[in-house]
Symmetry: C2
């Protein structure tokens, strides 16, 4: 069963856990990020707004002021902020936010060249270097983010100004790469998935065609980047043009089987591939997507839904190389994994995809942001030990506390836009069926007419109640981790058809459909094929991966081993409203010797675990997801 | 009690285990390495001999042929080979080897400049760049290795040609840095320890004074390298001049407490410091040495005696950062740790030093060479898993099989010279006492007149028998790991005085002193402070660390956990004469799922462990030193 592609974000008004997070993003993250764009936040200079201002001046032949500042992809910060703002406006009107967004959109429009080209870096500094460096230039990456913002802003407000800028830019790119047949494909995939969004809101076939073009030509000439590199005498970072695997271009995409290279780029590409496969019914492309999905989820993914295990190139490593302490597991990569999962789900409804989408959201995307919305992680290791994390040469990237902003600010706005568009992941529709992929409290009304409210204390509570306002068929995902699930319709066992992890039930106005999930905490055993996790286990409850912070465990987690036995719910300090867990353990004494012939003394201990996404919110601490199991 | 510094290598004729290894080095390694120096071994070009030939031509104002090729420290390969050859000649005359060595020495002498300067790289290519780049230039490093060779060759043969070259070179350096007061100290310490050797064989006080000078000025101006860098417009590798910690120059050596930076450089420096401290009675310097020793052995050393846990700069990491799989643990660094231990032992006889010296020798230095003497490891990780080791971005340096040679060929000749001079580490003397620091079969005769033979199947056998030919006092180390040691004199319990881990016994001609060590295999528990080893143990027997190769364990070590229980001796395939161990274990089934809620089935298994130094000698295999303990 295929799910309709255009589930409308306006159909979901969040409450509960997601509602709280959306409020945090609306009230704190979006305003804060706007201040950053304007260089008023007191963080490292962003210059994003000034870049657009200066590019507009350059186009008018005027003095470009203080020129261009920042990364070659600096523009994308503005686009990601606009996209988050659009989702926010879709959820709840906000005249001041809309005014700011409109203002920024006009500024962006003024920085677009007559031919449709838009990119402040190359407009201000290097107009003759346009399109010369697809490997590193990020021009299409920035366009892609602008297209996502343009589509979202049009959906949210009906305003066309940004949409027109995007379509003009897309037409410019189409002309170059399709009409004129200029060889090349984007170094950082993103525009492909964005063009599909732009196509859906605008109906402009060239957008779909251009997306397909870039997917189809990728890797057909695996030496494209080498030739491009040879033809120019400059680079941005000196990237290795010959590493086709890193660029997902060592072979045509339809032949690819292993998730390779830069993790964010990879899943952005796979997202577009899955989108196009289900849009066009391309079964060869769909099969490649499934192979890449399996490569990720069966061999190259952390239990948290984190992907890209190595800091070297922010990339996938080889199968089963999933170290906890040196993990990269970028927040953005898990955002991308959610994209990929949602597109796979649109091709074929199967809880396997939604399970991973949820895993990535709760355990890596959310972990990327502090609970106060004011600091962010790029990197999400599964272990962080004071004195080593952030200091040891192999763990310099694993800083123990979230910084407030980054010079390369991709993750914070990426997290913001994902939270604000949660409805797009949680709910879907197809014909007369409403899909509840994720549990998300709030009011839902779909284009097929079905509407209902969802009440739940998820991800902590075990019950999800759907009160039907307008009926039809409702398909509720039964997560694989729920070993015993009760589905009732108006208090009676529901007559549901279970297929591929979804329970399909016919519902009418006034019906109350309730799902009771098995929220018993469970011990999770990683495959013996993962060398870094031999003899170790972790604890999950529902969708949440738990971790042990030394703050809750007598100042030390390194001596702890889990012993099995009954895990019970409890509270952790300074984490109100969060279900913590008491876990039977032993604690080994720390010997003074580095290596000792004497077995360490050990005593019983009740360890406290908190959800991983809450980690590092209460000051310096050691943290471990996995503990030895004895 | 201090040990005399000049224990004469000629006093030890090895037999048994060490004798076999010395024969391997004499018959295989030294001839092979000579072929490498001459570019006749079919390995990557070395050009070492040609460099000296071309430098001599350059000095004569002639055409320098094909110029200089190789690393800036390429000359040191010739010196290390000569040093190994010298030790070999000291053990056993070999006219052909001596002829080759003499020939090479004459060639080296011909490449020495009139002023005493000797370095082919700067003589051929960059005479005006002499001494401009102490940070990276390795001029003093090469001199140091030449001095070690010169001292050893003079001791072995009584021939002075190389010694005179060295003394002239030392005088040249003395003039520049002491007489003229030119600021600076060596980027790669080595000359300091070598000057002390040169001082002892030659009696030239300037050598000792120059060694002390370099130790004393180091880090006094911690910005020396920054200033040097600013004063020149070239670098060798673009090393970071500002990282004083990496250079062991962020503070004067007497204030240093943490073993930092490039591990080989660090221990070479500490070796000279310890040598000077005991030579001069400098208690402040001795205290610094003890702090650095403790830093290494209590917080920064693998159980194998490997040091420098990170590939990033081949360096020490922070305390307790000792990962098994990404370890660097360079063979040369453990050679250097043996140097440091031996100098500490000369300052104060304590089995703690000798225990570590032995650990490093048997478990890292020996592991660096294949059992056929034809291939070598730089890097000695404690885990190697097929498909990850050598391939994953964090483990590219951990190649599963020993290569036959390296472009940067420091380790192979370093291992060779250490094996050939084993007597210098094993035996010492002071006044009327003979020290047996390490168990080493063979004939021993010391300058104080004591002589004896040592019979033992060590490191596998548990008994060491000393047959006294000429008596005195004999001090035998009782290794700390031997929990029950029996010492008998002529079959009766010996009347020994035990002090700092040594048993002192008066012996006369004809006496038979026998030591029976506790060779029961033991389970070793790493400190809970080492995050990478939580819940894991390893197995040792005597001085040997054991490891588990999948070759002996049904093709898989990742599912194994140790359970305790009786460990027994056994044999492993293709490892005749080596004591392997049968170790009670369980094997967990490998689940198809990456993460599973179901506990894996497990069954009892008897795992087979082999000595770590024998690893990777029988084809591709997974290997683990540590296993989970349940």
């Amino acid at each position: 069963m295929k799910v309709q592609k255009q589930s409308d974000i306006k159909s979901y008004r969040a409450s509960g856990f997601i509602g709280d997070y959306q409020r945090l993003v609306r009230e704190t993250v979006i305003p804060y990020q706007y201040e950053v764009l304007c260089d008023r936040a007191g963080t490292e200079k962003s210059h994003v707004i000034d870049n657009f201002r200066n590019a507009a001046a350059a186009l008018r032949g005027e003095d470009t002021g203080d020129g261009f500042y920042g990364m070659v992809f600096q523009d994308s910060d503005a686009a990601k902020w606009l996209e988050a703002a659009a989702y926010s406006l879709a959820c709840q009107p906000d005249a001041e936010l809309e005014r700011r967004a409109d203002e920024l959109i006009s500024l962006i429009a003024s920085a677009q060249d007559k031919d449709g080209y838009i990119n402040t870096c190359f407009t201000i500094k290097d107009r003759d270097r346009r399109w010369q460096n697809l490997l590193e230039g990020h021009e299409m990456y920035c366009s892609g983010h602008l297209f996502e913002a343009g589509a979202a802003y049009y959906e949210a407000t009906g305003k066309r100004e940004l949409l027109e800028v995007c379509l003009k830019n897309a037409a410019h790119i189409y002309e170059r790469f399709v009409t004129d047949g200029t060889p090349g494909y984007p170094g950082h995939p993103e525009i492909e998935l964005a063009l599909m969004k732009l196509y859906r809101v605008s109906g402009d076939e060239r957008c779909r065609e251009l997306a397909e073009h870039f997917v189809n030509v990728r890797g057909v000439d695996p030496d494209y980047y080498v030739k491009e590199r040879r033809a120019r005498n400059w680079t941005v970072w000196g990237n290795n043009a010959e590493d086709g695997g890193y660029q997902q271009s060592d072979m045509p995409v339809r032949r690819q089987s292993d998730a390779k290279g830069h993790a964010v780029r990879a899943v952005y590409l796979y997202t577009a591939m899955a989108d196009i496969a289900s849009e066009t019914g391309d079964s060869e492309l769909a099969a490649a997507c499934q192979r890449l999905w399996d490569s990720i989820t069966q061999r190259r993914m952390y239990v948290t839904g984190g992907i890209g295990s190595t800091v070297h190139g922010e990339a996938f490593s080889v199968d089963f190389d999933l170290p906890s302490d040196t993990a990269y597991a970028e927040s953005c990569a898990s955002v991308g994994l959610m994209f990929f999962a949602s597109r796979m789900l649109e091709g074929r409804v199967d809880a396997a995809y939604a399970d991973i989408m949820e895993l990535a959201f709760y355990n890596t995307v959310l972990a990327g942001m502090a609970r106060d919305g004011r600091s962010f992680y790029y990197v999400n290791p599964l272990e962080s030990i004071r004195g080593i994390a952030g200091i040891a040469p192999t763990q310099r990237h694993c800083i123990p506390q979230r910084p407030s902003w980054y010079a390369c600010a991709c993750c914070p706005p990426n997290i913001a836009r994902t939270i604000m568009s949660f409805g797009k992941y949680a709910y879907g529709e197809s014909g007369d069926t409403a899909f509840c992929h994720l549990c998300a409290a709030g009011e839902v009304s779909l284009e097929n007419g079905i509407s209902f409210s969802c009440e739940t204390a998820y991800p902590f509570g075990d019950t999800v109640t759907y009160r039907i306002r307008k009926g039809g068929r409702i398909a509720v995902r039964i997560p694989r981790w729920s070993r015993q699930t009760a589905l009732t319709l108006n208090g009676q066992p529901a007559d549901a058809e279970i297929r591929d992890g979804y329970a399909y039930t016919a519902v009418s106005e006034g019906d109350v459909l309730a799902v009771k999930l098995d929220m018993h905490p469970r011990t999770v055993y990683p495959s013996a094929r993962i060398p870094a996790l031999s003899g170790e286990v972790c604890i999950m409850r529902g969708a949440l991966v738990y971790c042990f912070e030394s703050l809750d465990n007598g100042g030390d987690v390194l001596g702890l081993s889990l012993t099995g036995g009954s895990i019970t719910e409890c509270e952790a300090e300074e984490l109100k409203g969060v279900t913590a867990l008491s876990v039977p353990a032993v604690r080994r004494e720390t010997s003074e010797e580095l290596y000792s012939d004497a077995p360490p003394k050990q005593e019983k201990y009740t360890a406290t675990a908190i959800p991983y996404f809450c980690r590092a919110n209460r000051g310096e601490t050691d943290m471990r997801v996995y503990l030895p199991y004895v």
